[in-house]
Subunit: 331 residues, 2 copies
Amino acid sequence: MKKFINSVDSFLSESLAGFAAIHHDIVALGDTGTFVRRASKPNGKVALVSGGGSGHEPLHAGFVGKGMLDAACPGQVFTSPTPDQITAAASAVAGEKGVLFIVKNYAGDRMNFEMAAELHDGPTATIVTDDDVAVENSTWTTGRRGVAGTVIVEKIVGAAAEEGGSLESLKALGDEVNARTRSIGVALTSCTVPAAGKPTFALGEDEMEMGVGIHGEPGRRRVKLAPAKAIAAEMMAAVLEDLGKAGFNDGPVILLVNGFGGTPAVELYLMAAMARAELERRGLMIARAPVGSYVTSPEMAGVSLTVSAADERLLALWDAPVHTAALNWGH
Amino acid sequence: MKKFINSVDSFLSESLAGFAAIHHDIVALGDTGTFVRRASKPNGKVALVSGGGSGHEPLHAGFVGKGMLDAACPGQVFTSPTPDQITAAASAVAGEKGVLFIVKNYAGDRMNFEMAAELHDGPTATIVTDDDVAVENSTWTTGRRGVAGTVIVEKIVGAAAEEGGSLESLKALGDEVNARTRSIGVALTSCTVPAAGKPTFALGEDEMEMGVGIHGEPGRRRVKLAPAKAIAAEMMAAVLEDLGKAGFNDGPVILLVNGFGGTPAVELYLMAAMARAELERRGLMIARAPVGSYVTSPEMAGVSLTVSAADERLLALWDAPVHTAALNWGH
């Protein structure tokens, strides 16, 4: 393992301090040093708090700021934030309208956010994202995993919160966006957790893991590396079949082409071209198509494709101003 | 080599088509399909044209748009764009005020941009960037290499062009920013060129290349991997010593922490924290500090640190609105 690191113990706190110092116009470290919150607290809105294990940056701290989250709690790499970490964040940003937690569907995250919600003094609600169609149940998950679709939920619900939506309406909106959103990932190489110091799994020189999770969890099948066009076709078929079963058969859609971190932009745009062709072949209108490394896994080469069935209202919320480290427009 | 690719021959054109389709609100493919230009041509300004070998994305196509470049010419991976490719781009975006080329200091790039300037029918000027302090002369370079500091030149000159600056004044401004800017890079792993299919150079499991070039050119020395703090200290010492010799001994500065592509954001922010500490220890005021993967090398894990001695005028140009795929604010 080769990393820019001083020690495994100080790795995350030093990085988080760097992140907060660099983006001091947008975020600040919480008093406990264990969470990131907006640099200035907005008044009279529902507070959005997300979090989860580190290693997926810019998720979630990169999405704290106007138009998205109010706070994010990063755990150790691939480890859930603790309940006291979450309650500290929640109480730092909570107002009268309450706190909305956005939680990816992993057992540890759900348990700790649930405990935090019980401990928090004030109204709360929780959105659980589970957009990964690859597998039912997984290493750390009952049901489906929450992956890159979480970014779409955080953006759209964040915009609605900024407009003054109630806790109840935002919870319903987040659940709706999650229900309209499907993802699948593929890995060309493994991730490497700093504390472990070696790759999480082994892939042959000519193999890929189709349906991989963002922690390197097994996918649907390990197969020979295929041309990009064939990979995109298999991924889009999985996503669109599942969306279709839920009644979402036409556009407009948001297509999110997400790199796992180890994949160059030139390959992401090539995969974006292949994914677009698959959608267009089916007559689906692509309304928005963010391309970038938004939900990553340390050193993993790979990509995930997310399709979210949108409408005028959801696209307006997607387009609303946002000012965070990782998404920034219109403010 | 594992990449998302259909064939080595179609790799770049498919990716570029994807890039242009995804960012159709910002850019368009040129008629020849060999360059990227702004989606709508602005009137009455000097046209900024850059380019160079592919493999460094988002440089340069990711910086085409309002407030930065008018066109970018990507060559094959690590291969200069051809003179006819450059002249096609120049004539597509040229207006009465002329064309300003921004060229990184590599022999092939300089030669081909020079030929293009001779072929172009109209006034031209050229800024050559050579911000890399690691070595004098290199594999493909006489003098110093042009690396991540090029982004700062393109942003600042782009803003001044938008304000209506003349060809002569913009050329002088670009030369000035280049003279105020120094960079150095370090690699933890090699890059891999698709057409070659294997790593460009070999590094031991516990080694790093201090002073590496963005094409994997040799640096100053190959040494044992060190703690991040020590790496940052050596890099900042090299950069600041050289800046000091040129008379730039105090702030404010722009600190650019650039990932080579294979390095996770969490490590970039850790290096940003270490670099900040080095600057602060010397009493240098950090006015702006962009952190991201702006000038990359395929699959290379590593980072470069750039310091640009700024002043009020240069910071105002840095802050001016920009709307490109890779930099986007204030528009």
